[in-house]
């Protein structure tokens, strides 16, 4: 097929686009999860004044369109960095930072929700047998929170893949930008957009499929435990 032949002709770009999309989304998911778990803990267990800055950060991130965050990081944050320290992040780094900021806010809310749904009696029971809070968190709270977090976490992961398509706007060669390049060269916009659309659809469907299987497995435990 001529279309796939054309895609193959630009294979180097396609591979770059795929790697960029995937690596940036992956960084955002992993870093976002780690930061989100810590921030989620703070929002659940820390004193109010410590919660405030994180609360504000999370609300801003969740209230802004992701594209605005991307622009703010790329244009505004970079010019601030330049002014203060005389350096700038390249487009890829800026994109990763922007998506991580967004993803961390999502994961924070998700962690907070899961932790808050665990009855206070669990912490008290841990305390009563002499455990310290870090031990209680790792052995008692986190394992219960994770079970509840998996379904919305999968959802957030697919959100990140979709959000990565915005990165072409600051010149990152992501899959969508490569598609635009192909269209610019060979026309037939509809065909190529359908192909890339199918690709994203399949990728996200796969993630959700495996996510559902995973949460079913841990849910089996959960069901037995209720």
């Amino acid at each position: 097929m001529i279309y796939f032949q054309n895609i193959y002709n630009l294979r180097d770009n396609v591979i770059t686009g795929f790697l960029n999309t995937f690596s940036i989304a992956l960084i955002a998911i992993i870093l976002g999860t780690l930061i989100g778990i810590i921030f989620g803990m703070v929002l659940t267990y820390a004193k109010k004044p410590v919660q405030w800055p994180i609360r504000i950060y999370v609300d801003i991130m969740r209230g802004l369109p992701v594209l605005v965050t991307v622009f703010v990081v790329y244009y505004f944050l970079n010019s601030v960095l330049n002014m203060l320290f005389g350096f700038q992040m390249d487009a890829n780094t800026s994109g990763a930072v922007a998506l991580t900021l967004f993803s961390a806010a999502q994961m924070t809310e998700l962690t907070r929700g899961a932790l808050q749904s665990i009855p206070a009696g669990q912490i008290e029971a841990g305390r009563a047998i002499g455990l310290t809070f870090p031990q209680i968190f790792v052995k008692i709270l986190l394992p219960q929170a994770v079970v509840q977090m998996i379904p919305p976490w999968i959802n957030s992961a697919t959100e990140m893949i979709k959000a990565s398509t915005l990165l072409g706007m600051i010149g990152i060669v992501d899959l969508l930008l490569v598609t635009r390049q192909i269209v610019a060269k060979y026309n037939d916009a509809l065909v190529y957009y359908v192909i890339i659309g199918c690709f994203y659809f399949i990728l996200n469907t796969l993630i959700e499929f495996f996510g559902k299987r995973l949460s079913k497995r841990v849910n089996y435990l959960e069901k037995a435990a209720r």
């Binding site: 009855p119 009696g121 669990q122 008290e124 029971a125 841990g126 305390r127 009563a128 047998i129 002499g130 455990l131 310290t132 809070f133 031990q135 052995k139 008692i140 394992p143 219960q144 079970v147 435990l221 959960e222 069901k223 037995a224 435990a225 209720r226």
Partner: protein, 259 residues
């Protein structure tokens, strides 16, 4: 008489302006079983929760096994001790909760083992043996690998008792241990507590089971609006009923009007 194992010296507790209890002093000796009775809101559960520092208190001293717990003096000011120290002091007590509070993601055996391996730093094999021993002692030898959700309320509470006892605490605290159970499951839990009493465990029971309190206690404390309104042997409290308020309270149980 020997030095008391647990001593309250003028302990007071309040939430803001509301005084939960004021100026409480009492002693519990080794191998004694003390029941605390009283209507809801009389402060008896809160009193119990102060002993393992789940609740802070504002004045007075609680002394357990010769050691003041929860607080110390720094430059003449009363300060809470570090969380690490508090965790250590808590391990001297064992608590059984009204709602069991088992860890739902762990088997019965793992529930009992957690404190042994993590607080007492016991090797896993040894902790497992001890967990098996205590689960058998409460009659759950064939339920050790079940998750709490697969157990009845009475079985869950017995796991919770095993979890508390396995830590070999100096004193066991029961916070309305049978109040959340279906009536037909109360007996099996009370039996376990009765056996512990026979074996010489030191226990404080906050309870609404008057008959049981009468039967197992060495001392009964009647609390009313944040005060110890009466204290004595089961006979003195339940038969002689020294105060008007106590008579009223016990009457609600006899006529079945209990909460």
């Amino acid at each position: 008489m020997s030095e008391a194992l647990l001593k309250f010296e003028n302990v007071s507790k309040s939430y803001g302006d509301f005084n939960v209890f004021t100026d409480i002093s009492l002693e519990v000796h080794e191998k004694e079983v003390v029941s605390i009775i009283g209507s809801s809101g009389s402060g008896k559960t809160t009193l119990l929760r102060c002993i393992n520092l789940l609740e802070p208190f504002q004045a007075g001293k609680i002394i357990l096994d010769g050691q003041e717990i929860g607080y110390h003096e720094v430059n003449g000011k009363r300060k809470r001790v570090s969380e690490k120290e508090i965790a250590k002091q808590r391990a001297m007590t064992g608590m059984v909760f009204q709602q069991f509070n088992l860890f739902p993601h762990m088997t019965a055996k793992k529930n009992v083992m957690l404190g042994l391996t993590h607080t007492k730093k016991m090797p896993v094999a040894e902790a497992e043996k001890l967990a098996e021993k205590w689960l058998s002692a409460v009659g759950l030898q064939d339920k050790m690998d079940n998750l709490p959700g697969q157990l009845s309320g009475g079985q869950q509470q017995r796991v919770a008792i095993a979890r508390a006892v396995a830590m070999s605490p100096k004193i066991l605290l029961f916070d309305e241990a049978t109040s959340a159970l279906d009536p037909e499951l109360v007996g099996e839990v009370l039996n376990v507590i009765r056996n512990l009493a026979k074996e010489g465990a030191t226990m404080i029971l906050v309870t609404h089971e008057m008959r049981f309190a009468y039967e197992v206690s060495d001392k009964v404390i009647f609390m009313d609006s944040g005060k110890i309104a009466a204290m004595g042997t089961p006979k003195e409290i339940f038969e002689e009923r020294p105060t008007e308020r106590l008579r009223e309270f016990l009457a609600t149980f006899n006529t079945g009007k209990a909460e």
